[in-house]
Symmetry: C2
Subunit: 147 residues, 2 copies
């Protein structure tokens, strides 16, 4: 992260929320992470899934690689370049899952079709609810930021 060539001036340097938003908080970056988690590997994979313009796609992939979220690997047989999520990129899974959970509840009309996420047992995956050590549901109203 500290070696990212296009490291930004952080919008709010001591806030972890803001730093993450600085790194992946444009819609294309987050959708490319989503697609990598869903099996996209090549430039063409990403291009077809998002419909993003090729020059913007190339820029965003460079940016995600610079931040250490994806990396290029050689893929046999023709040694074409493929992109893979790094461990740090994989750890955005809870963010993607939380975005999915909110969207499922609030961005679709009743009965409107949407994709779902399932685990290896075929069970639908839901975003986990934040709770305190004693099991109390956590919200913005019973938590606070300490600087």
């Amino acid at each position: 992260m500290s070696d990212a060539p296009d490291r930004p001036q952080w919008t709010d340097p001591t806030c972890p929320v803001a730093r993450t938003v600085d790194v992946v908080g444009d819609r294309w970056s987050m959708l490319l992470i989503r697609d990598a988690m869903d099996g996209a590997r090549t430039f063409t994979d990403f291009q077809q899934r998002t419909g993003i313009a090729r020059n913007i796609l190339a820029d965003r992939l460079r940016r995600l690689a610079a931040y250490g979220l994806i990396e290029q690997v050689d893929a046999p047989p023709a040694k074409r370049k493929q992109y893979e999520l790094t461990a740090a990129g994989e750890e955005l899974f809870p963010v993607v899952l939380a975005l999915r959970g909110w969207g499922e509840r609030h961005a679709f009309a009743d009965g409107e079709a949407h994709s779902i996420l399932i685990d290896t047992a075929g069970a639908q995956v839901s975003a986990p609810e934040p709770v305190s050590a004693d099991g109390t549901p956590l919200t913005s109203r019973n938590t606070r930021v300490v600087r």
Copy 2:
């Protein structure tokens, strides 16, 4: 949501992740939600916390209101307008918490200072780990999207 006056052409209409990103996936919208959760109420509160240009702030607040994430309420004594999160806006808490969790782990050098989130008992709040019904940790590798 369906009445939002500036409802977008959804980038990927059947994907809940993409719809959420369409709604709050620009960095200012997400940071304004963060600030509302942290107690920002007035235009000036938001302006001072983000440093955002006033015209962009006004646009983003209008947009968040149009999507039903915040609403204007009259505040005594002078009946100045204040903004409050709606129930749908409050439910972005798991998203903000997941963004915070990733940032804390991956966007700070060892020992670099950052804010933390605490509950009413003073305990630091962590983003919950996604798990299946039998407690297996869930990642992009043992889940898949079904369309």
